[in-house]
Structure formats: structure tokens, C-alpha cells
């Protein structure tokens, strides 16, 4: 029924550190993930989980060191045809840095409209810019403004309008509201929801706030130390986590959620270093379920239900407890 | 029993562009052993309020009116010397970013030991003070405290550094700990551990905790009472569970609605942004964004109306 449009296979991305590049930090380590048309898939994890790196790879802004990513029939390894590139857009976290401080809203939008290549005449560009602003809840009055004259929420709306100008199919939203105040966050999340309803957008939504994930996403991929711990439908995962880390995350969260997870796991310890991660399952030093096998073998992502995958050998036990 | 009693506190910043009315007529109390959270968006005045209670308000900020009674002593009229005695011993502060408040060139144990030295309890070099510092580090659940004593800040994770700051804050068994966004920079699982720690320490030591945060979820998790601020004024206060389940003030309602998110639904939160504090709107400062606003709201004078356990600053409850 749902059509897979982005397919990531065995994605590995390393960053070299230090002067000689001898230290290697493996930000994403062997990740498989699919994105379906019209859905919101959330990448959830703490800092260093690799969610941002994975998100960038999935929309072709970063090249994986190993593995493949395809968007429909195109491989995302190298340069893409312009009309394909246009269909994968981004909205970033920091509204202050998302817009060129030397350009007016008019110029920012005009640049995107021209890059989309659907119109060139001055009149049409202006018309389109106004309609884009109206789509994101702003008006023509914002056209003359410079970014520093806008509030954080307004900047983020302009960034969304700029992405929409490309008529994208997929939008990567990397913590789009975390720098904003509570009420403005809700405004922007609501806007994203409305735009998805109206235009059938597909979102890759990166967030550390579980209530935002709950609000917007159909599926969640929980990431830990560069790997996927668990993937599945949002409601199921929030209700019945199958990975102990998911349960710990849900227990720890201060987000207001409609119900508590069935299992509570008291938070202990910290995320591991990605330069020398622990052997076997990376979560085992913090895990109350850890056994000898967890210390020795990396658990494979395996299916435990329709659309539910988990990388934990004790998943059944976790679900039963 | 009341520990802290703030009455009609008004704080202004005199800037070349005009007078910023950062806090207007703040009145509230904190009981012994109580956790009170002050919640608000950026620019709501919550940090200014907390800093003035800690005696850390710096020019151009000044207390224009009002009193801060701490165990009956009026802090707003205290001189610097008396302040130094109280701050660090009876009232201590934990800030958001531990990196700014730890000396990168000194091992963390000595930084804790310094607190004892500063309050005349022996030299940093004495074995006794070192031993006490190690005890405090153990108390904030740092593993191997005698080894960690020698660590430098850069060798510790963000969560660990925050524990060290908390250690410094509780070293002298304060009566009031002010925590300004103590977990905002931390990951969820670390944040939960720090909040648990603060709660445990509060219970063990019987201190009061004044938590400053923008995160209603954090406030709801550990606070007994919540004070909601908007544009420099207290708009509502009451028990945390009651505020979360039944917010009264239109602003609090919007705030609660914006964190209690239903799946994929229109949220109906008010548009607009908080006003400038140099020229705030007349009357209720929320009225330009308020769905219930009437003519009367522009002429209204800030008052907290009592309603059951709650205090609300809205004419709807007059």
C-alpha cells in the first residue's frame, strides 16, 4: 500500500578527527532505513546518536562512506539532476543561521523560485513569493524585511517557504522548533502538519522532543550511538517499547505524553564514545537486561511485528515485562 | 513554613533605548523543603527575578520597588558584604552551562574544596577539606569520587560537570538552591538523572528548590508549585498538577496546550509574540494575543485573584 521512496542500505559515515585524521568517529554505523511516500518518519536520539548525519545522507546532502541511498530511481551518491535535487529540501534548527543575513525575504524567496526554474518574469516571481508566504502564515508585508527584523518563528516560516518554493516531495526537518519558545513551537508544528495534509509532503523529522514526535510522526526510528535501536509505528513504540533504550528514553522524557510506557527503565550512565564504542550491543553497559551475549555480539535489526524492527536479542522479554 | 517571601518586586533595566520593565510587581513565597518552578518564555523576566533573589542582579538592572524576605531578613536592602556571607552558604545557584562556571585549569575537587575555604572552613590544602570535598562529590553520585577529585573539567561529560556544579552548590547545605535551566543543555536520559538527583538531595537535606525553566514538562516533573510568568508579570501560580490539568489564565492555557500535543490535530494556539518590555501594552500584557480580551483588559491593573488553591492575574476571575 505505501510506496517506498527513499531507501538507505548499510549506511556508514565516518568523520576523521585530529590533525592526521588518525582518529575516526563513526557517526552512522550500518543503518538501514526506508522512507515511505507521504509519511513522517522521525529520527529520535540524543546528541551523538547520528540522527542528523543520517538525515543529511537520506536527502543526499552528505555522501555515505559505505552503503547506498536511493530516492525513487536515482542514486543519491553523486550529483543529481536539478529537478531531482529540488524535490529533496531541508529546514534547519537554528533560525538565526537559516537565512542569509544580507538578503531580504524577497531575495531569499526569489532565489529559490528561480532555482526551481518554473518562472522567470519579475511579476510571476513576486506572485509566487506572496503565495508562498501566505502558505506559511505570513504575508506580503514580510517581503521587504531582513532576517534580523523577523522573530524566530517568522524566520523558521520563511525557511519553510523557501523549501516549499522548490515544490519538494521530501523535506528534512532537523530539529526545526527546538530553538523556539513553547507556543511558537506549537505554531510551527501545526504549520508543518497542515502543509503535509495540503501538499502530501513526506517529512524526515529529526527531534529529541518526544511530544513533537508524538504529534507529527507516523513512524519512529530510535537511534543510539550511530545505530538504529528500534523502528516502528509511533503509537506502538510509545506504548510498548521493545528496546530497553527506547524504554529508558520514554521514562526519562519530561515531555507531556498521553500515557506512560508499559515498561519503565531507570536512566543510568551516558552515551558511549563513538571513537571506541563498546563491543557487542552498544547499549549493554547501561542496560538492565544485558547478558554475556550482548557484550559479545552486535544484535541485528530483526522483525518482531508488522513494520516493527528492533536490534535487541531480548526484545521479547522486554515486551513481556 | 515560609522561607522566602517576595513582595511586590519590581525590577527595571535602564538602557539607552529606554527602561526595560523586566519584572513588575512579583509576589510569591517559597516554603521550606518546597520545590517551586518559575516558568516563562525567553524575555519573560524569570531569570532576572531569580538573579535578584540570589543577589546577582547587576546594573543596569535595579530593584525599583518591593522586598525579598529570606527568613525574615530583607535581602533587597542588603549590602555587598552581608550578601557574600549569605550567598554560597544559605542561598546558592546552579546555572545552565557548567562550562562557564568551572575553571578549566583547576581540578574539580579543588573547586569544590574552594567553597569550604571561601566560607572560612579551612584551607584548600588541608586533608580535612579535601576529604569533605570528596564526600560531597560522592553525595552527588559521582563514581570513584577520590579519583574524580583530580579530574579537570574537560575530562568530564556535560552531565558530570553539572553534578560538580551541584556539588559546589550544596556543599554548605544551603536552605535555598536556585537552579536556572539546570538541564536544558543535557540529553534526555542525563536530564532525568540530574532532576532525580536534585529531588533526592532536596529530600535528604530539606532545602528548598527554586527552579527556573522554559520547559513546562521539567517543571511538572519535579515542582510542587508552578509560577507562570508572561512579559515580566506573574500571570498564574498554583499546584503543579492543577496547573497542568486545569490551567486558568488564557496564557497558561495556551502554554499547556502547546506542550500537551494531540496527534496530528490543529492546536489553536494564539499567534503573535510577547511584547517589548520597553513599551508594554497598557493593562494586561497578554491582551493583544488573548482570545477573550475585552475593552476592560486595556485598563486593568495587575492583580492576582485568589481562586481555590490558585492565584490568577486575569479579569475573567475577578
Amino acid at each position: 500500500m505505501s510506496e517506498v521512496i527513499i531507501r538507505g542500505r548499510h549506511i556508514v559515515k565516518e568523520f576523521r578527527l585530529g590533525l592526521t585524521g588518525r582518529l575516526r568517529l563513526r557517526a552512522v554505523d550500518g543503518v538501514d532505513l526506508e522512507v515511505m511516500r507521504g509519511e513522517t518518519v522521525a529520527l529520535v536520539g540524543e546528541s551523538g546518536s547520528g540522527k542528523t548525519t543520517l538525515g543529511r545522507i537520506l536527502v543526499g546532502l552528505l555522501r555515505p562512506d559505505r552503503g547506498t541511498v536511493t530516492y525513487r530511481e536515482w542514486g543519491l551518491g553523486g550529483r543529481l539532476p536539478r529537478h531531482v535535487r529540488a524535490r529533496l529540501q531541508v529546514v534547519f534548527q537554528n533560525p538565526d543561521a537559516s537565512l542569509n543575513p544580507r538578503m531580504q525575504v524577497m531575495d531569499i524567496l526569489a532565489e529559490a523560485i528561480r532555482a526551481a526554474g518554473d518562472t522567470a518574469s519579475r511579476e510571476e516571481v513576486l506572485d509566487r513569493a506572496i503565495s508562498l508566504l501566505e502558505m506559511v502564515g505570513l504575508s506580503a508585508d514580510h517581503l521587504p524585511k531582513y532576517p534580523h527584523e523577523l522573530s524566530g518563528g517568522e524566520k523558521q516560516r520563511v525557511a519553510i517557504a523557501r523549501a516549499l518554493a522548490m515544490r519538494p516531495e521530501v523535506v528534512l526537518a532537523d530539529e526545526p522548533v527546538s530553538a523556539l519558545d513553547a507556543i511558537v513551537r506549537a505554531q510551527i508544528l501545526e504549520l508543518m502538519y497542515r502543509l503535509q495534509e495540503d501538499w502530501g509532503l513526506t517529512y524526515i523529522f529529526i527531534s529529541h522532543d518526544l511530544s513533537h514526535v508524538w504529534y507529527l510522526s507516523d513512524r519512529v526510528a530510535i537511534m543510539y550511538a550511530g545505530q538504529i535501536a528500534e523502528v516502528g509505528p509511533t503509537e506502538e513504540i510509545f506504548r510498548e517499547p521493545a528496546h530497553p533504550y527506547t524504554a529508558m528514553l520514554l521514562t526519562s522524557s519530561t515531555s507531556v505524553l498521553p500515557y506512560k510506557p508499559r515498561l519503565t527503565v531507570r536512566p543510568v550512565g551516558e552515551s558511549p564514545s563513538l571513537i571506541s564504542p563498546p563491543p557487542g550491543c552498544r547499549f549493554h553497559p547501561r542496560c538492565p537486561y544485558a547478558t554475556e551475549q550482548c557484550r559479545a555480539e552486535r544484535p541485528e535489526l530483526r522483525q518482531i511485528g508488522p513494520g516493527r524492527l528492533v536490534a535487541c536479542i531480548h526484545a521479547e522479554k522486554v515486551l513481556r515485562s | 513554613m515560609t522561607l522566602l517571601d517576595v513582595r511586590g518586586l519590581t525590577i527595571h533595566y535602564d538602557l539607552p533605548q529606554g527602561t526595560v520593565r523586566a519584572v513588575e510587581d512579583a509576589t510569591f513565597t517559597v516554603d521550606r523543603g518546597e520545590v517551586v518552578a518559575i516558568i516563562g518564555e525567553s524575555g519573560s523576566g524569570k531569570t532576572t527575578l531569580a538573579m535578584s533573589i540570589a543577589g546577582l542582579l547587576r546594573p543596569p538592572g535595579r530593584v525599583v520597588r518591593g522586598h525579598i524576605y529570606f527568613e525574615g531578613l530583607d535581602l533587597s536592602r542588603l549590602d555587598d558584604e552581608k550578601w557574600r556571607e549569605i550567598r554560597g552558604r544559605d542561598i546558592t545557584v546552579v546555572f545552565q552551562d557548567p562550562n562557564t562556571y568551572l575553571n578549566p585549569l583547576m581540578n574539580v575537587g579543588r573547586q569544590v574544596a574552594e567553597v569550604f575555604e571561601a566560607h572560612g572552613m579551612g584551607s584548600i590544602r588541608s586533608r580535612e577539606v579535601a576529604q569533605r570535598a570528596i564526600e560531597i562529590l560522592r553525595r552527588v553520585r559521582i563514581q570513584d569520587p577520590d579519583k574524580r577529585y583530580w579530574s579537570y573539567p574537560h575530562e568530564l561529560s556535560g552531565g558530570m560537570k553539572q553534578r560538580v556544579l551541584i556539588a559546589m552548590a550544596i556543599a554548605l547545605k544551603p536552605k535555598l538552591l536556585i537552579a536556572d535551566e539546570p538541564t536544558s543543555a543535557l540529553d534526555a536520559t542525563i536530564q532525568a538523572q540530574i532532576l532525580d538527583l536534585l529531588e533526592e538531595l532536596r529530600r535528604e537535606m530539606g532545602m528548598s528548590l527554586l527552579l527556573i525553566t522554559h520547559d513546562l514538562g521539567v517543571a511538572a516533573k519535579i515542582a510542587h508549585r508552578i509560577i507562570v510568568m508572561y512579559a515580566g508579570q506573574i500571570v498564574e501560580m498554583g499546584r503543579a498538577d492543577e496547573i497542568m490539568s486545569d490551567p486558568l489564565h488564557p496564557y497558561t492555557r495556551a502554554l499547556v496546550r502547546s506542550v500537551k500535543l494531540d496527534r496530528k490535530r490543529l492546536l489553536g494556539v494564539p499567534s503573535g509574540a510577547p511584547p517589548s518590555l520597553i513599551s508594554p501594552p497598557p493593562g494586561c500584557r497578554f491582551h493583544p494575543r488573548c482570545p477573550y480580551a475585552t475593552e476592560q483588559c486595556t485598563a486593568w491593573r495587575h492583580t492576582l485573584y485568589v481562586r481555590d488553591n490558585r492565584r490568577v492575574a486575569c479579569i475573567l476571575y475577578a
Binding site: L61, R85, Q89, R102, Q104, E111, A115, E123, L143, P144 | -
Partner: protein, 296 residues
């Protein structure tokens, strides 16, 4: 419709006006602009007219103090100091300006390439920069003149090349930062070409820093050019380049200090004015300053 276009353009003008107002609010910077304009005017007039021939020797008037006939006095050869200052302004200011232009152009271009494209080219440029940065600018300039020899063009080359590594480092680091700005990445996601992003998004944000830094370097370069002149490595005698004038007159520093002090005051005033001007430009050209002011 056209009304909107007009408002967009008006906002653009308003921003320029706002910058000017911010600049003017900095009194020292604003005053410096007048001082420098006066010096530039003096240099310009000096090319066509001076009260006396700046090279004409009149031993009968030697070492005269300030007087109506010679407002700035005369030197030990009886040459009119005012005329020499006017003549020398062209050299001191002109050479410094040309040197900064050279250093900024070459250094910025190399820094931009180095920062944006990276790789082997970056490594080579950076190692070379490391070596050059190991020497203080003034030493580098002295070393270069001793290789190139004395002469006006060589002073320009020496002072200019000496600042190149500083520009390379500055521009490269900024480019590395700007290259990862979200709006640049958004541009890449839109499929904008590398050179387009470089010219449209990176360079405009760099250029203000380059302009501000160059203003500061004008002050420093004036000092370097004067120092070279003083050491006899710069503009040759009898051309009254200000530093050369001081070097030339140093024997009289205790007996007739005005022959040294007059060019000295002009050098210091010019260097100081450029520094103050730099401060003013920095505040006026930074669009984020307005935001910062509003937040407090």
C-alpha cells in the same frame, strides 16, 4: 504590485540609511572620517599645488619654527614643512592604500579558494601561510625590501605581500565557517552551483569583514611604510614620504624637535583615524548588531 516592489526597494535603502546612522552615532569614527577626508584632500591638492616647492633648498630659512610664512616651520635645509607634508601625503597614504589593496585582493582570493575547495591546494596554501606567519609583519616587510631593493613600487609590494598571509588565514577561517552555515547548505539543497553560492552567499558576508579588517590594516600599513622609510629601506630621499622625513631628520630630534614631530603627528593621526574608522564600520556593517541591540 509595483507598490510592493517599491517597498522592498525602500527597505533596502532604509537599511543603508540605518547603517549610516549607526556609523554616525559613533562620534570618534565619524570624526575620523573627516580627518581622513582632509588628509586625502591634502594629498590631492599636494599633487598640483604646494605653498613652496617641497624640494627647494633655502638654507637662510633653515630650522625655522612655526611662523605665518611657514605654518609648520622649515627643516634643516630650509624646505617648507607644510609643502613637504602635502607632497608626502600622496606617497604615504597612496602607497599604504595600494599595499592594503594588493594584500587584501591576493590574500582574500587565496583564502577563499583554500577554504571553499579544501584538499591539496588548501594544504599547500596553508603550509606556506604558516611559514610566512612565523615572522612578524614588519620583519617580513623589511626582509622583502632588502630582497626587492629600494623604490616606491617595491615598498608597495613589500608591505602588501607582508599582509597577504594574515588575509589568507582570516578569509579561509571565515569561509570554512560560512560554508557550513545552514543557509549555504539550503542553497546546496536547492541545487545552486558552487560558484553561485560562493559569490552570492559567502562573499557578501565575507566582504564586510574584509572591509573592516582592511581599514584596520590601513592604520598598521601606514606605520609599516613609515618604518621602512625611517630605516631608509622605503621611499628614497628626497621624496618627503612621512616616515622618510622622520628618518632623515632624526639628528635634530633633541635640538629642533618639530622637524621630527610634525611628520610624526601626521603618521599617528592617520593610523589612529583608520583604527577608529574601523571600529565604526564594524558596528555599522554588521546586520546582527541591530538584533543584539534590540534583545538587550
Amino acid at each position: 504590485m509595483s507598490d510592493l516592489v517599491r517597498r522592498v526597494k525602500a527597505a533596502k535603502r532604509e537599511r543603508t540609511a540605518q547603517m549610516w546612522r549607526t556609523f554616525r552615532a559613533n562620534r570618534a569614527a565619524y570624526a575620523s572620517l573627516y580627518v581622513l577626508a582632509a588628509m586625502a584632500l591634502m594629498a590631492l591638492i599636494g599633487a598640483f599645488y604646494t605653498p613652496y616647492d617641497p624640494y627647494r633648498i633655502d638654507l637662510s630659512a633653515a630650522l625655522g619654527f612655526f611662523s605665518p610664512a611657514h605654518p609648520l616651520g622649515t627643516d634643516w635645509l630650509g624646505r617648507d614643512m607644510l609643502s613637504r607634508i602635502m607632497e608626502g601625503a600622496r606617497y604615504t597614504l597612496g602607497i599604504s592604500f595600494a599595499a592594503v589593496l594588493l594584500g587584501a585582493a591576493v590574500g582574500s582570493a587565496l583564502g577563499l579558494i583554500s577554504g571553499y575547495y579544501g584538499g591539496l591546494l588548501d594544504a599547500i596554501i596553508q603550509r606556506a601561510t604558516d611559514v610566512l606567519l612565523a615572522f612578524p609583519t614588519i620583519l617580513l616587510a623589511i626582509a622583502l625590501t632588502s630582497v626587492l631593493g629600494v623604490g616606491i613600487l617595491n615598498v608597495v609590494l613589500a608591505a602588501g605581500i607582508a599582509t597577504v598571509p594574515i588575509y589568507i588565514r582570516l578569509v579561509r577561517n571565515l569561509t570554512l565557517t560560512l560554508r557550513n552555515e545552514p543557509y549555504v547548505e539550503a542553497g546546496r539543497a536547492m541545487g545552486l552551483s558552487g560558484p553561485y553560492i560562493l559569490f552570492r552567499h559567502i562573499l557578501p558576508n565575507l566582504s564586510y569583514v574584509i572591509v573592516v579588517q582592511s581599514t584596520y590594516y590601513m592604520g598598521i600599513t601606514i606605520l609599516i611604510v613609515s618604518a621602512l622609510g625611517f630605516l631608509g629601506l622605503g621611499v628614497p630621499k628626497p621624496i618627503p614620504e612621512w616616515g622618510t622625513m622622520i628618518g632623515d631628520a632624526r639628528d635634530y630630534i633633541f635640538t629642533y624637535p618639530h622637524v621630527v614631530l610634525v611628520p610624526g603627528v601626521f603618521i599617528s593621526a592617520a593610523a589612529l583615524a583608520f583604527n577608529l574608522l574601523g571600529d565604526g564600520l564594524r558596528d555599522a556593517l554588521d546586520p546582527r548588531m541591530a538584533t543584539l541591540l534590540r534583545r538587550t
